[in-house]
Structures are given as C-alpha cells and as structure tokens.
Subunit: 188 residues, 2 copies
Amino acid sequence: MEALRCLPGVGPKSASRMAFHLVERDRVGAERLAHALLAAAEGVRHCRRCRNLSEAELCSVCADPARDASLLCVVETPADVLAIEQATGFRGQYFVLMGRLSPLDGIGPSELGLDRLEARLDEGQVRELILATNPTVEGEATAHYLAMLARERGIRSTRIAHGVPMGGELEYIDGGTLAHAFSGRREV
Amino acid sequence: MEALRCLPGVGPKSASRMAFHLVERDRVGAERLAHALLAAAEGVRHCRRCRNLSEAELCSVCADPARDASLLCVVETPADVLAIEQATGFRGQYFVLMGRLSPLDGIGPSELGLDRLEARLDEGQVRELILATNPTVEGEATAHYLAMLARERGIRSTRIAHGVPMGGELEYIDGGTLAHAFSGRREV
Ligand SMILES: [Zn+2]
Ligand SMILES: [Zn+2]
C-alpha cells in the first residue's frame, strides 16, 4: 500500500483497494506490472533526435522512414506526443521540449534543448514548424520564441487552432477536440 | 501503461498519467513499487489461524499474545480487518471469511472455512463472537448462520450496530462511523 502511493492521484484508500485487489485476485497482473516498472525505470531514456521518452537511442517515430521530416511538431511533454498520435492523423515528426520557457524557474532555451532544435531547423528538411505548446501564458511565450527561430530561417510556423480551451492542458483534452485543433492550425 | 491497467479504477488516461509521472519524475518510486509487488505476489498467503492475508504462517494479530482471545470478530475480507484496526480500539482477534455465504455462487460454509471457525469456537477460549459482516442480504444471512454456530455452543454473539448504512460496504465507511458502530454492537 505504501509503495503504491508513489502513483499520482492514489491516496490511502485507493492504495489499499489496489493492494487487496492485486494480492487477492490478480497476482499475475502484479508480477507483470512489477517487471514493466523495472524495465521502464531502468531502460527508458530520451530519444537522441527528438528528446521524447524511448527505450532505444532513436524513438519509434524518429526511426520510421515513413514519417514526413518536413513537418516538425513541437510539444511540451511526451504525454502530448501520445495524445496527438492517438487523436490525429499526423504523420510528421516531433520535438519534445520537456518543459516550457519559464525564466523565473531558470528554464531558458538551453534547458529545453533549443540548440538541438535550431540545428535541426538548419538541416533544411523542415518546411513547417507546428507549435503545439499548451495555450498557457508560458506555452504561448514559448510558441512565440519558436516562431521567431523559424522566421529567422525562412521556415513557415503554424500554431494549433482554437478548440483547445485557454488555460487547459493538451494532454487531458478529448481526442475529437484535439484532432480539430490540429487540423485547423493556422499561420503564426 | 498497459501493465498499469491491472490496477482497479485505472483507465487509459490515468495509466498514461501514472506511467509518465513515474518515468519522468519518480524512477526510484517505480523500482520500489516493483519490488513491493514482487514480494507481495510471491510472499503473501493466508494466516493459518484467521485466514487473513499474511507473509508469515501466523499473521501479526494472531501472533500477538497481547490480543484478547476471548473476543473473536468475524469479517468478510482482509480490507475489513484493516478498516477496523485503523478506526477502532479493538484488541481482540479476527476470523476472515474471505467472502460471504452465497449458495447461488456455490459459496457455502466450507468455502468460508467455517469448519475451522467451529473448531476454534470449540477450543473454549472465545466468549464473544462479534459479527462484522457487511449489512447486505448475504452478509446478514451469513451473520445469522454464524450466530447459530455460537448459540449451539453457548457463546454470546453480537452484531456491529447501526451507523453502517444498509447496503453499504464496510471497507469504504469513514473511521468515525465505523468506530461508533463497533462500540455500539448489540446482542443478536
Ligand atoms: Zn525521437
Ligand atoms: Zn491470523
């Protein structure tokens, strides 16, 4: 029960319910979960190209030659990649900031790996930079900063459209809304 | 994410939130949880005396000489023992049915280990049998059956009092209500 409390949203009552469920009714599931946790805790790192979580040096999106390298979508978190992959038909590639610009917290361009993003834009393959940061104050500021990097290189940048409610978190939006916002993206 | 779905109440959204949280922010917690799950899945069995879940042959309550062997509280599940231990000052012992009488589901006295309970009543130490089964139709029927076993041996039996709402589950009741119901138990 104690160990289950490391899961977000799991208080004492849920932890005891989960523990009893596993021990009384699903020991196979408990062992399977244990091995998955160990594999994830030991094996998951960041993709060398897009910074997304990955068990290999290159994540499955970056390693897939069928993905369109001319479309690069920038998101804040790995959960955002998952949400977009599940909800939309996007076939381009990603760059995961693992955060957003937040000078007060000491998070600037280098903490977000923007040097690597700039190098990638300099490669010349990207024709559209899709800015899919969250519509929060910091997410908007990050999008503006990224748009500037694109503009400096003559690369078109777009922002995912309204439909994502202001102040909301991309990760928790229903798939339909997210798909709509994604396909309705507009020039910045 | 897939493996986390074995936890009760965890859907796809919570599973992904939990997985990202663990991998991005709490790998130590993930490993700790993995080892706890393995230990529980491999090491937890039933106490030889009371049938509660235990890692040893005798659970900590049965092994504790300070617990009063003249008070025997019968509950349906290990979660009920935990709830009573946390909410009340009960210092007697337990017998865990691991279910309730349910003839339609093929659960009769032998599935609930009542032969072992009868043997224990025959030992002559128990002076009060506290019936703390849930106030559901099957829980009440089970309590009546247990009261009969006690009466046959001239042992007093009590039922935990109102305060536990009818149709409710003991495990989910707030501690205050449960403590009140427990101390207000009455002769059957
Ligand atoms: Zn990648
Ligand atoms: Zn025991």
